[in-house]
Subunit: 76 residues, 2 copies
């Protein structure tokens, strides 16, 4: 079974990686981009028996820094 | 307007980050996880006039290394 976890920075948290991408897009001549936010996509391949609660615990303990990041779990 | 770009490693490409996450999950006592693949989620905030072709060009030129990565564009 597959589950995807999307980890994104909380609003208001400075995103230097996103800023760097935004700047690079401008340098490459792309216009019309107002902001860029970079995050993580983690794909877990796991046994059917792994519960939502366990995946949430994985997110809180390891996959996301819940002080500055949000996470969203999507069963594939 | 918002567009999300999901960048993931192509199958068969070694994913050391995913391996590290997988190992760490095991050390934290989580069982049942067979494999972990790490990727990027890039959120673009842009003018309505930015076309799909332009976003695809951004992916090919900067956001993804198309030799080892796939990308998927999702208009939010």
């Amino acid at each position: 079974m597959k589950t995807r976890v999307y980890v994104t920075l909380k609003g208001g948290v400075l995103d230097p990686q996103g800023k760097a991408i935004h700047h690079a897009l401008g340098s490459l001549g792309f216009s019309g981009v107002n902001d860029v936010r970079a995050g993580k996509l983690i794909e877990l391949d796991h046994d059917d028996g792994v519960s939502d609660a366990e995946i949430e615990a994985m997110c809180k303990k390891l996959l996301a820094n819940t002080v500055i990041e949000n996470f969203r779990i999507e069963r594939a």
